[in-house]
Symmetry: C2
């Protein structure tokens, strides 16, 4: 089950490089399926509350308020791991997603396909997987 | 192999909602492994060049110039698919990554672990996978 222990971050908030709005973007990925669910933003309060509660908490840029993801929908995101990138200006959150991440009801917010490249499937690993799926 | 046909986006640049810098963030994911590799930004020129060449092209905020990923390192990212999120302010790119995505030599830029949650592995799917790995 989920423990409610406060998590301590290996990197302090002060070490992050914030964008022009004083926020840091957070890429949110389902830790089971590896699906990318959404991109959101944190200020320091959101970051600290995420660590304290284990539930992903963002800064809503449209509503200009703290946003505990799932508080109204029930679709909470429980923290599995948080990582920062090489220049510490982006966070990757791997989460246990309850229900759908998107307010539209879609699992992931990235449902608007722009382009998809056609290609011959000669990738050995994919061919192996296709064959493996049959046997 | 890779075809060099120009791709046409289902959503025009004008429909995207840009950030304060006139850019759109792009989450970059390996299409084979589903690993999240990096977050970068595009302006319109970068977006159009990505469609035209099939190679991920960004706007470098630090160098303030167009950045064809891999042009100096050889670590190109070939477009597999591009999607926009529900409010069209973020792009998800699934790519075929040549070599490492990060300039440090790491596969992914997200190598700075902040927190990792301890939990009992009672998730049926994971337990199944663990067992499956043994048999």
């Amino acid at each position: 089950g989920y423990s409610m222990n406060v998590m301590e971050s290996a990197i302090a908030w002060e070490e992050f490089r914030l964008n022009g709005d004083g926020l840091i973007p957070v890429v949110v990925q389902d830790y089971r399926t590896d699906q990318v669910l959404m991109l959101a933003y944190m200020n320091e309060e959101a970051f600290q509350m995420t660590l304290r509660t284990g539930k992903m908490t963002y800064w809503s840029r449209s509503r200009k308020e703290l946003w505990v993801k799932g508080l109204t929908s029930g679709h909470f995101q429980y923290v599995r791991s948080l990582s920062a990138d090489c220049d510490k200006d982006t966070i990757l959150a791997r989460v246990s997603q309850v229900g759908a991440a998107c307010h539209t009801g879609e699992i992931s917010c990235f449902f608007n396909e722009l382009v998809k490249k056609q290609y011959d499937e000669t990738n050995p690993r994919k061919v192996f997987e296709d064959v493996y799926g049959v046997i």
